[in-house]
């Protein structure tokens, strides 16, 4: 069954291209361009995994992470950011992120992480 992935990132050109590449690999991504929209999509349906940027206008990635973990403690969240100091990333891990990855990265690396984390959940 196709994995449902929620991508939350304000870099539209990046996130829509990443979503297209995921679709080509049989995954079902949905895109939110800010934290508010991401949380709204989460209310509509719970994905298998969330890929979340850290720095976005409005609600920050850290706040979105906290809210996701409050609502769905078991839902895996990968932080994927071009920003973020080591302290930021350690803070996200402490808040329950499953992993923190830096842009740009090979899609294979991201897909392996998704596979590992969603297999663990099922």
């Amino acid at each position: 069954m196709s994995k449902h992935i929620l991508l939350i990132d304000d870099e539209e050109a990046f996130v829509t291209t990443l979503a297209e590449r995921m679709e080509l690999r049989g995954l079902s991504p949905r895109v939110a361009l800010n934290g508010q929209d991401g949380l709204r999509l989460l209310q509509e349906s719970v994905p298998d995994i969330v890929i979340l940027d850290l720095r976005m206008p409005g609600i920050s990635g850290t706040e979105v992470l906290q809210e996701i973990k409050r609502q769905h403690p078991q839902l895996p969240v990968i932080i994927l950011s071009g920003h973020g100091s080591k302290e930021d990333l350690e803070n996200c891990m402490a808040l329950g992120a499953a992993d923190c990855l830096r842009k740009p990265l090979e899609i294979r690396v991201l897909l392996d992480k998704i596979q590992m984390l969603t297999a663990r959940e099922t």
């Binding site: 870099e11 050109a13 990046f14 291209t17 990443l18 297209e20 590449r21 080509l24 720095r55 071009g82 920003h83 973020g84 100091s85 080591k86 302290e87 350690e90 830096r102 842009k103 740009p104 899609i107």
Partner: protein, 210 residues
């Protein structure tokens, strides 16, 4: 003094933030090239006149993205080393690599390559990141020299008991090592010169810095 400090912190923070922004731009280039590669991959029988050239160009883009990623990471670290002056410790292993990356262009312009061999473990030292970076840069600049023929500078970080060290080795260097300039940046750094090599010893810190 405060004005200078504010200015340099502003520069550090601005450089670091804009380097992060460049990472986003690089990520878009990377994903866009990746999407074209995906389309070619799922259509292996799709032949068109310039297919080999397109594939070759995509490989160039991939290589340049990796190169850009390395430079951006190093420059971002340089920026953060300026905007966080309170940090008086750093991981020598990380900053030896960063120093080598930052000096790469200067070396290439003088016909030299830098080969960096980091240690396999963190090497926490009681010296601030910025001082370490400048010291390593000065050492590399000396080892590169002014000669134009092709040569290699080797830089390696090694663990020690009381002091971790960086060895910077060139070949047939004529100029005197810039010992006093390096020493002035951090008086706790011990410096030894060997034939065509400079060894910088940094006092060990007990904990790995953040």
């Amino acid at each position: 003094m405060r004005k200078f400090s504010q200015e340099i912190e502003f520069m550090g923070a601005t450089v670091a933030h804009n380097m992060h922004e460049m990472q986003n731009i690089l990520a878009i280039v990377h994903e866009s090239a990746g999407l074209v590669e995906d389309i070619l991959r799922i259509n292996p029988d799709l032949e068109f006149q310039h297919r080999p050239k397109v594939e070759e160009t995509l490989a160039h883009i991939r290589w340049q993205v990796q190169r850009g990623k390395k430079v951006l990471h190093a420059t971002s670290k340089l920026g953060h080393s300026i905007d966080q002056p309170v940090h008086e410790t750093c991981d020598l292993n990380v900053y030896a690599r960063i120093g080598a990356t930052l000096a790469q262009r200067m070396a290439r312009m003088r016909g030299a390559d830098i080969v960096c061999s980091p240690d396999e473990q963190p090497l926490p030292v009681l010296t601030g990141a910025l001082a370490v970076l400048i010291q390593i840069y000065l050492g590399i600049e000396w080892a590169v020299g002014e000669q134009q023929e092709k040569r290699t500078v080797h830089l390696r970080a090694e663990a020690g008991k009381d002091a971790h060290k960086v060895v910077i080795q060139g070949s047939a260097i004529s100029a005197r090592a810039p010992v006093s300039a390096i020493q002035a940046l951090a008086p706790t750094t011990r410096i030894e010169t060997e034939e065509n090599a400079l060894v910088l010893f940094f006092p060990v810190a007990q904990e790995t810095p953040v």
